[in-house]
């Protein structure tokens, strides 16, 4: 039981780190540009597709990954210039509609280019092993890499946001964007930077996860909803909030799905427990979100907390 | 009634290390027009927010007609007879002038959970609204779209709406803001007339208006009340002169 718990806790951690990578960029986009971007999940999907294609083309996952990162960055910039910069001044409703349309375009576009069948990316040999944990339990090396890469990125983001000039502008922008524009900060460049950074992080997350999930159209949609939940719980505009919330969501979801039914089986008969477990498990994070919002309508660490 | 209508005791509000309202206490007697003046950034608007209930105070208390309303929300305060107007015009632009006032009347005229009868045709609401509009001189504009009024007329509408709530005490936040000479005169005359039936707390920068209308004046500087008294007493108060005119002048 302890082994199972440890295993699932690590899985939850890995899942949470992944969510953080996608959510960090999006919470900054929400917080600084006040832009609702439903298409953020598609950037995650594009990252996965690019690494799948580039890995197959070059024969090397690491090379594929290294090429994917600037590619998603470029893709993000293109989207920003073509569409998103026209949306900053529009109301939330227009942003919802436009980005909803963008999801349709990109999901369909990906299908037209790569076909509807799921693609897979093989885990590189050097990373296909596992490392020992407790007793004779082992954990896949690749997942450890994801956790490590995610934590490294989190650290990098933390340093960027807290200890650099750009980071200072990001934090100021998340609190009051028109103000820093009035103070002379080039808001257009800042917005483009934030958007590109967010796109790159999402693409990176998609690329990292490609070997352990199947790459298919629409994979961005499910991660999008989860990302929203993370941002809402963590507080819009707060990277720290996104980190805490992402880990929380990752752990609650993973542990809940595993241990929920086990717990329920001790309370009711197997088939009822199984049904209840299957019903409650996906709902756990939404219940968590509802609970957090009930007490803190602006999330755990809202960046615009100064409004109080 | 005996005793103050509005009694503020040790009111405090801080944003981080900044004490925007710093231990403010004063009283407003019924029928009085009490002006609050002070240099820019003194915290006057924050004080109005705290008095009207749109901002929770960190400490101190607000008493209205003998009742402690510190924890009462904005809607509750309006129902008890304490209404405000806004410094930056905040009306319903898309509705008619009459409807703006009628809504305020509706808020105190029974339940608004009525789903089928047309509200715009409710004569009692419209009559009371017209009375408020007539008092401020906007009755001839009743059926125009509120957004089409001139700036001065919008300031008049702000006051009309506050009147229409049936409030006893009006918190007027810089009613003369952005008005020209003629518009100001209209509004000052209006407030002089309102004095006869209402208690008024007036936040203003326009000193002529303040000294013409106010029974008593309180001076707010950096969140602290440095003087309270009649207009004359405040005018010659040394700290007030310093606050407005600077150290050198006071000498």
């Amino acid at each position: 039981m302890l082994n199972l718990f440890l295993l699932q806790a690590l899985n939850g951690l890995q899942f949470g780190i992944l969510l953080f990578l996608v959510a960090a960029g999006l919470t900054l986009i929400f917080g600084i540009m006040d832009l609702i971007n439903l298409a953020h999940g598609v950037l995650y999907m594009v990252g996965a597709y690019l690494v799948a294609t580039l890995t197959a083309y070059t024969g090397d996952f690491f090379l594929g990954l290294a090429l994917t990162i600037p590619a998603t960055l470029l893709f993000g910039i293109i989207l920003e210039v073509l569409i998103f910069r026209r949306l900053y001044d529009r109301d939330h409703l227009d942003q919802v509609l436009a980005t909803f349309g963008l999801i349709l375009i990109l999901n369909e576009g990906v299908q037209m280019l790569w076909g509807a069948a799921p693609m897979s990316v093989p885990i590189p040999d050097v990373l296909s092993g596992s490392i020992p944990l407790i007793g004779n339990m082992r954990y896949p090396l690749f997942r450890v890499l994801i956790i490590a890469a995610g934590l490294a990125t989190a650290l990098g983001l933390y340093l960027l946001v807290s200890h650099t000039r750009i980071g200072m502008r990001l934090r100021a922008g998340a609190t009051n964007a028109p103000m820093i524009s009035a103070l002379g900060v080039d808001i257009r460049r800042l917005f483009m930077l934030v958007f590109a950074l967010g796109a790159m992080l999402a693409g990176f997350a998609g690329a990292m996860v490609a070997p352990i999930l199947s790459v298919q159209p629409g994979m961005g949609d499910s991660i999008l909803i989860l990302t929203f939940v993370v941002i809402v719980i963590g507080g819009v505009g707060s990277v720290r909030g996104a980190f805490v919330a992402a880990l929380l969501v990752g752990l609650v979801d993973t542990l809940g799905r595993t241990f929920g039914p086990i717990l329920l089986r001790s309370l009711m008969d197997p088939s009822a427990a199984s049904q209840t477990g299957r019903t409650l498990a996906p709902m756990l994070i939404y219940i968590l979100m509802a609970a957090v919002l009930f007490f803190r309508p602006a999330g755990l660490f809202p960046a615009k907390g100064a409004a109080q | 009634m005996i005793g103050p209508l509005l009694d503020i005791r040790n009111l405090r509000k801080a944003f981080g290390a900044l004490h925007v309202t710093d231990d403010v206490s004063f009283q407003v007697m019924p029928g009085e027009l009490h002006a609050i003046i002070g240099p820019n950034g003194a915290g006057k608007t924050t004080l109005i927010h705290q008095l009207s209930g749109s901002l929770a105070s960190d400490g101190g208390s607000v008493h209205f007609a003998g009742e402690d309303i510190t924890r009462v929300d904005m809607a509750g305060r309006v129902h008890r007879g304490l209404a405000r107007s806004f410094q930056i015009t905040s009306i319903l632009d898309g509705f008619t002038v009459l409807e703006n006032a009628a809504m305020a009347v509706q808020a105190r005229s029974g339940s608004s959970f009525r789903f089928f009868a047309s509200a715009a045709r409710e004569t009692p609401l419209n009559d009371a609204a017209m009375a408020a509009l007539a008092r401020v001189g906007l009755d001839d504009r009743a059926h125009r779209r509120a957004g089409s009024l001139s700036h001065g007329e919008k300031r008049q509408l702000e006051i009309a709406i506050a009147l229409a709530t049936g409030a006893r005490l009006l918190l007027l936040d810089e009613p003369l803001a952005g008005t020209g000479h003629e518009e100001s005169a209209v509004l000052v005359a209006l407030m002089a007339e309102l004095k006869t039936t209402h208690t008024i707390v007036l936040i203003e920068h326009d000193m002529d208006a303040v000294f013409a209308l106010a029974d008593r004046v309180s001076v707010l500087v950096y969140g602290r009340l440095i003087a309270t008294g009649s207009a004359e007493e405040v005018r010659v108060h040394p700290e007030v002169r310093t606050a407005y005119l600077g150290e050198e002048e006071a000498a």
Partner: protein, 339 residues
């Protein structure tokens, strides 16, 4: 709660001020509505004349979504509440029919009553939590609650789960299969749509509707005259949910099939499109929007299997280049100007 109403300078609104139509252009919308309902009432004659029964079926389906879009307009157009989970109510209504039918309860009045009850309850609970938030949070939390309902239905394998559940037959009225014929069913749905339209028109002009519209336009001002917005918005949210649930009851009968896909967030997004496309805050606009959107979808689907691409491009262009949707366009060319 009150401090969060002090809007920060430059904060993007959920729905821009110029979209909030406070003036009810009575005659214009009444005329438009009259024309639309008259056309719909005569449609069966056309269907018989050109011998196309499919026209009737399609029109019924469009009217069902028009009913749902109408309900969304109450909270979106008149409340400025961008709810991204509205399709959940359609699904809950549809599943009320399916689940009751699976247990032998076929009567449409019973099913409709249950649907309305379930949707009202769901709307009350989720609305009470969602309405404590504003802006971006509200949109995302309604999206999340919609997803929650979706996953709940997917998990109920007893009722088909992801695959959905087929109805043996349409609902009955006091034991009689009155809805079996497409013609009767068409008129029943038309009557419901017309009834909902007339009812909501009255609601919007009532005391309640006025508070809702005022809150949409200037929340702080409404509070300053003594209204607490929350209870009115929640009531509107429940009414909208209940009407959408009724649409779900009809949808289940129309398709004789119910699946969780009815309540996906993509469906919720499509509902918003219908309302905005037609012109929000007009009641007649969403009806026109539903017609236009579903016809567009059908037309694009006939042109290419990748019709979603076309739809997406259409949406992006719609947002970037138009304001006010169909209703806005019509009012501009007929001179019944909207500011």
């Amino acid at each position: 709660m009150s401090a969060s109403d002090l809007t920060l300078a430059g904060e993007t609104p959920d729905v821009a001020p110029q979209r909030r139509l406070s003036r009810l252009d009575g005659r214009g919308t009444a005329l438009a509505a009259g024309l639309i309902f008259a056309a719909l009432a005569l449609l069966p004659l056309l269907a018989t004349a050109i011998d196309d029964q499919f026209l009737l079926v399609t029109a019924t389906r469009i009217m069902i979504f028009a009913l749902a879009a109408l309900s969304l307009d109450l909270i979106l157009g008149y409340g400025a509440l961008v709810s991204f989970g509205h399709a959940a109510f359609i699904g809950l209504g549809a599943y009320s029919v399916a689940i009751l039918a699976a247990h032998g309860i076929d009567d449409i009045l019973v099913q409709a009553a249950v649907a309305i009850l379930v949707c009202s309850l769901f709307a009350f609970v989720t609305g009470a939590i969602s309405l404590r938030t504003k802006g971006v949070y509200f949109i995302m939390i309604t999206l999340a609650f919609g997803q929650m309902a979706y996953f709940f239905m997917v998990s109920l394998s007893a009722y088909g789960g992801d695959d959905g559940i087929t109805l043996a037959a349409r609902s009955t009225l006091f034991g009689a299969p009155v809805l079996k014929g497409n013609l009767t069913f068409f008129y029943v749905v038309l009557a419901a749509l017309a009834g909902a339209f007339v009812t909501l028109r009255a609601v919007v002009g009532s005391r309640f509707g006025r508070v809702l519209r005022g809150t949409r336009d200037n929340r702080m001002r409404m509070q300053a005259i003594g209204f607490s917005p929350f209870r009115y918005q929640l009531t509107a949210y429940v009414i909208a949910g209940a009407i959408a649930g009724l649409a779900g009851v009809f949808l289940a009968n129309q398709a004789e099939f119910v699946s969780p896909a009815y309540m996906s967030w993509q469906r919720s997004g499509e509902l918003i499109v219908m309302v905005v496309l037609g012109g929000m805050g007009t009641l007649v606009g969403p009806i026109a929007g539903a017609v236009a959107f579903l016809l567009l979808e059908d037309w694009l689907a006939q042109i290419s299997e990748h019709w979603k691409l076309g739809l997406g491009i259409f949406l992006v262009l719609l947002v970037l280049f138009t304001r006010g949707g169909i209703a806005g366009f019509v009012s501009r060319i007929t001179g019944r100007g909207t500011p």
